[in-house]
């Protein structure tokens, strides 16, 4: 049996970090193969509900990345994204989800190396925490099953 690998959902804004990930490809910069990227127009598009949904479905980690402050294609969407993220992070912590499962970064479309570096960091941090157990739907079902029986 091979080593446990985490499942990490990544939301990237189309204009900056998605471009950086493309560049990382062009530059053949390796990073762990277990992150899956969902493209969104702007980090401001990320509703906390998406983060919750990801954890509920069993994601071991969530990573959101957008444009640098001042660089947002939509003027200020990344600030909204950042603000929601900060709130979200402390809320999740409150519910028992380790802070190391949720990551946020600013990566411009030119920063391929940074993209790969952060990808490694995110993966390592999530890997260190092991499989997610809080909030996961299947587990919740199991727990309630146990309670009933």
């Amino acid at each position: 049996m091979s080593k446990w690998q985490p499942n990490i959902i990544t939301f990237l804004c189309n204009w900056c970090t998605y471009g950086a990930a493309d560049m990382a490809g062009v530059s053949r910069l390796e990073y762990p193969p277990y992150i899956r990227i969902i493209r969104v127009p702007c980090s401001g598009r990320i509703s906390p509900k998406f983060i919750l949904a990801a954890f509920r479905e069993g994601a071991d980690g969530v990573w959101i990345s957008g444009c640098h402050p001042g660089d947002c294609h939509y003027i200020e969407g990344n600030y909204y994204g950042r603000r929601k993220f900060a709130l979200m992070k402390s809320l999740l912590e409150h519910t028992g989800i380790e802070p190391g499962r949720l990551h946020f970064s600013w990566i411009s479309s030119a920063e391929a190396t940074k993209f790969a570096d952060v990808a490694w960091d995110v993966c390592k941090s999530v890997e260190a925490l092991g499989p997610s157990t809080k909030m996961v739907r299947q587990r919740a079902a199991q727990i309630s099953q146990n309670l009933i029986s």
């Binding site: 990930a21 990073y31 479905e57 929601k84």
Partner: protein
């Protein structure tokens, strides 16, 4: 010339950023554009740059979308590897002869897969990387090149030289290689020509004293750009050429090939800022790096450049030494370089550096002479295109315009502005034949897919070996075929090739597909292509989704092929899950009120209004004062010895007599409502209120000269500002005795903590007045106290002229500001002379202050139009480099001093530029709203207004609807689709086209399905 003979096409010669911008502006306006490029790819110098100042944007990242846009535009025909041989005819109707050199690869067939390269046995020097690397003789100039086609260098090809090899022909599966291609001559008919051939760097080898070419560790600034570039020859690692070691101590020598009578007397305008930029980037990589810039004057005169310079000094600790380096010596053992120099205080130094970067100046392109001959236009004494100060984009021949570094050395935004400006003039010549040569593409009717179950087709691309060499494409295809709703799955060698596209269309029809997923590369480059394809098959563009299994998978997991295959399957599953929920979205077409409003009747406003009117559009020109003219009314002569009053009289006359221009004097804006294409503005003119409807707005509210509160200004009658001094000289209100001892102080109110920017025009203004005084009284003693003299471009010659005429220039800094007092009615100045290191006493008969340019009433306009200002109170454009006259809000433009301090010619260029940009929606007559916009569910919305508050574009309004409560609604025309509203709506009443909550959740669920 009869109008019927006019030709609605324009030729742009030179495909750098200026040429691309001019082409795009004209094509968007409805002209057919031929973009002729000398080299094999468009992109020019900007493509080689690592980053751009002062925002440090990645140069290629912001340029490449423009390259793609130009390549894709149906009205732009790019002819690369070509030059013009002759231009016959007159404005409106030219015949241009083009010579297209062979590239030995068929541009139409080549899809840039690169499989052929491995077969080419010949290595040659890589010119894109300034010869610091090697490429194959069969190569693509750079990965983002347009046309995206390889080429063969005939000077090195074994077949062409010796009739050997021909390996590449075998390797190319598409049969794109044609080693027997011949040069072609093409004759094209156009109505106007724009010359944008750009620049060449000064050949540093000509200044033998710096040892370039002889000492390995002396390099040029453009080489340094490539070295710093992550995709450059050393992957972005700064190394010494002699030993490959990372340097610890680095020197920049400024003005190599500029401000130098033995090479070029003019100032190249950009080198100070690019040296600071390159230094900052180097320091970002390695904060320990010790960098010294040796300079004569730091010329950071552009918008935002001065604070960039300050950052370089304070934040990054770059050393600046004011010294002209006379020579570079090399230590033969270590290959270190030794600079001997005298500092400003006279002390002598000998310093050792690991690497020396020569900040080479800009010269006209090597083909300038040839081009000038072919186009029959005149060059100036420096070999740049000859233009008049008041007509900066007009060449000596009617109907032929110029833009960019061919006109004078300049940076990217100035080039972009001139490019759009020349487009406005070309359009002015041809407005009555606009749209005659471009065909609106007829779309097949869209098939209505409502009510149909999803029938998804999945196309998996091999991308040559790029994907198939790592992942198991057949496995991915089989997997895709087994997914719910997937009725068809296919793999192809190149999904993007022309024949594949045609096949996709057939398959969509044959299998009645109503959703398409392509698993290939990145949607950032290829989505528009596939969307166009499915549109041709009758599907709405939004029924498309892409799985990026190359850039995100096989390229980065080449060492883990199984994981790459598994990941590809996940990505396909996620894309299919989203595709199931895709819905057709309507591209809304909103009609445009074909009228412009120009706010501000100074030189810029009048120029913009006139250019709009000359392009055939009605225009309302608003001026707050009773008379048109603005600052121009107070200018009587220029440094170039032209008379602004003649310009004013001429342009005023044209504006007042133009049938399409309505001038509202003594007017101001009271309220602005609406969005691009449909503004409604209430104005008050001569106390009468009226409303006008218009499609675009140009802000040209100008700026003014600061009224200083220091140096006895306003307290002593002999203390003037430069503008007032110019006026007093011109009106003859000064006496010869006033000119006896003239003292001028630069940077009064500029480059101070309170106003950190450079006012750009004051150095020129001081020298202009000094030369005029010298002309009136050759015995006048003139002292100019300055921080840096910034006579950039060709104005450097006037600085030299002033010094030769005996004007004394003395440096001061903030620690040693001149002390001006009054003693029994006479002015007295105590000033520190850094050369002798002592205070000196001057009794000026006249004191002139080079007062800052300060913004006018920008704040009011900014609030009315909801467009931003920068910290200094000037309007903040959408992008400092590539959108210098646009705002993030569509339909609003800015020009002239309202944008930043600038000279007359720069104001004219920028005003023309704003007029060209503003003319695009007016010429189109409609605004197409991207379908990716927000949409409010009125049932769910309870009118809380958070969306209106958050929307960065003011595109959601909460208003009372008849008989109901407050409801939000999206203004589709100005919505950009960021989704901030959708993410925040507490009722989840807002959806985002193509990025709906359901679609994103489906992607998450689809990923989770395999855990």
């Amino acid at each position: 010339m009869k109008n019927s003979k006019k030709i609605g096409a324009v030729m742009v010669v030179g495909g750098g950023i200026a040429g691309i911008q001019a082409s795009l502006d004209l094509a968007e306006q409805g002209y057919l554009v031929y973009l002729i490029e000398y080299s094999p790819s468009i992109g020019g110098t900007m493509g080689q740059l690592e980053k751009t100042f002062p925002t440090l944007d990645c140069s290629m990242c912001i340029l490449s979308p423009k390259l793609v846009e130009a390549e894709r535009h149906s009205s732009i025909k790019i002819i690369a590897n070509a030059s013009i041989e002759s231009v016959n005819g007159t404005a409106g109707n030219f015949k241009v002869n083009i010579l297209k050199r062979p590239r030995y690869v068929d541009e139409e067939l080549c899809n840039a897969c690169g499989n052929c390269v491995d077969y080419c046995p010949v290595n040659i020097s890589d010119t894109f990387n300034e010869g610091l690397a090697q490429v194959k003789c069969l190569h693509i100039p750079f990965p983002q090149a347009v046309p995206s086609s390889y080429l063969i260098d005939p000077l090195h090809c074994l077949y062409i030289l010796k009739n050997e090899c021909r390996q590449c022909e075998q390797a190319c599966k598409l049969k794109a290689i044609n080693l027997n291609q011949k040069e072609e001559r093409i004759e094209l008919e156009v109505g106007a020509v724009i010359l944008t051939p750009g620049l060449d760097e000064f050949n540093a080898g000509r200044k033998t004293e710096y040892g370039y070419g002889e000492y390995a560790n002396v390099i040029t600034s453009i080489e340094f750009e490539r070295i710093q570039n992550a995709s450059g020859p050393f992957q972005g690692h700064i190394v010494r050429m002699s030993d490959g070691k990372h340097p610890k101590k680095l020197a920049f020598i400024q003005c190599v090939g500029s401000r130098d009578l033995s090479s070029n007397s003019y100032c190249s305008s950009v080198c100070c800022t690019y040296a600071i930029k390159e230094s900052i980037i180097a320091k970002e990589h390695d904060p320990e790096l010790d960098i010294t810039i040796f300079f004569m004057d730091i010329r950071t005169q552009g918008k935002g450049f001065e604070s960039f310079f300050e950052r370089g000094k304070k934040e990054f600790g770059i050393h600046f030494v004011r010294s002209r380096i006379s020579s570079v010596c090399q230590d033969p053992q270590t290959k270190d370089l030794i600079l001997n120099y005298a500092a400003e205080d006279g002390s002598h130094h000998s310093d050792r550096f690991d690497l020396v970067v020569l900040s080479v100046g800009l010269e006209p392109t090597k083909t300038a002479q040839e081009l000038a001959q072919a186009a029959s236009i005149k060059l100036n004494q420096f070999g740049f295109c000859k233009t008049h100060e008041f007509m900066p984009t007009q060449t000596s021949r009617d109907g032929i315009f110029v833009a960019g570094a061919f006109q004078s050395p300049k940076d990217i935004p100035e080039s972009v502005m001139q490019a759009s400006g020349s487009a406005a003039l070309a359009s002015g010549v041809l407005s009555d034949v606009r749209g005659t040569l471009v065909e609106e593409k007829e779309h097949v009717p869209e098939r209505d897919v409502t009510g149909e179950d999803p029938r998804i087709g999945v196309f998996v691309c091999h991308c040559g070996v790029n994907i198939a060499g790592v992942a198991d494409v057949s496995q991915i295809r089989e997997y895709a075929a087994g997914l719910d709703n997937v009725v068809f799955a296919q793999q192809s060698m190149y999904a993007c090739s022309r024949d594949s596209q045609e096949k996709i269309i057939e398959i969509i029809k044959e299998h009645s597909l109503n959703r398409v997923v392509v698993a290939a590369c990145t949607p950032r480059t290829h989505e528009p292509l596939f969307q166009e394809t499915i549109r041709e098959a009758g599907l709405n563009r939004c029924l498309y989704e892409m799985a990026n299994i190359r850039d995100y998978c096989t390229w980065v997991h080449a060492k883990a092929p199984e994981a790459a295959t598994e990941k590809s399957k996940d990505l396909v599953r996620m894309a299919v899950a989203k595709a199931r929920l895709l819905t057709p979205l309507k591209e809304e077409i909103i009609p445009v009120e074909r009228r412009g409003l120009v706010i501000g009747g100074g030189l810029s406003g009048m120029t913009a209004a006139l250019a709009l009117a000359n392009q055939g559009f009605e225009c309302v020109l608003l001026e707050k004062e009773k008379e048109l003219g603005g600052n121009l009314k107070h200018l009587f002569f220029t440094l170039n010895k032209n008379n602004p009053q003649n310009l004013l009289a001429e342009i005023k006359d044209k504006v007042l007599n133009h049938s399409l221009i309505t001038v509202c004097a003594d007017a101001k804006v009271k309220q602005v409502k609406g969005y691009v294409g449909n503004f409604d503005t209430i104005i008050v003119s001569e106390q009468k209120t009226s409303q006008i409807s218009h499609g675009v707005i140009i802000i040209a509210t100008g700026a003014m000269e600061l009224q200083p509160d220091e140096y006895l200004y306003g307290k002593h009658e002999k203390v003037f500002t430069q503008q007032k001094l110019g006026e007093a000289i011109a009106t003859g209100s000064l006496h010869q005795s006033d000119f006896k001892n003239v003292l001028m102080i630069q940077c009064v109110g500029s480059r101070t903590p309170e106003r950190p920017y450079c006012s750009k025009i004051c150095c020129g203004a001081a020298i202009k007045n000094a030369l005029k005084i010298k002309q009136l009284n050759p015995l006048a003693n003139i002292y100019i106290f300055y921080k840096d003299i910034r006579t950039y471009g060709f104005n450097e010659d006037f600085y030299r002229e002033a010094r030769n005429a005996g004007v004394v220039f003395i440096r001061y800094d903030d620690m040693h500001k001149p002390l001006i007092t009054e003693e029994s009615g006479e002015l007295q100045a105590v000033v520190f002379d850094p050369v002798i290191g002592e205070n000196i006493l001057i009794r000026p008969s006249l004191l002139a202050l080079s007062a800052a340019v300060v913004p006018g009433e920008n704040e009011t306009i900014s609030q009315l139009l909801k467009v931003p200002l920068n910290a200094e109170g000037f309007f903040l454009e959408a992008h400092a480099k590539l959108r210098p006259v646009d705002f993030a809000t569509d339909g609003i433009f800015v020009c002239g001093l309202a944008h930043s301090p600038k000279t007359i010619d720069e104001s004219i260029s920028q005003a023309l530029s704003a007029a060209a940009r503003a003319a695009i929606p007016l010429a189109k007559g409609v605004v197409m709203a991207e379908p990716i916009v927000s949409c409010v569910d009125k049932e769910k919305c309870f009118g809380c207004g958070i969306c209106e508050y958050l929307c960065p574009y003011g595109s959601i309004k909460v208003e009372e609807e008849t008989g109901t409560d407050l409801k939000a609604h999206t203004i589709t025309a100005s919505c950009k689709g960021c989704g901030v509203c959708a993410a925040r709506c507490p009722r989840m009443a807002i959806t985002m086209g193509r990025f709906t909550r359901e679609q994103i959740n489906a992607q998450i669920d689809a990923y989770a399905a395999n855990w």
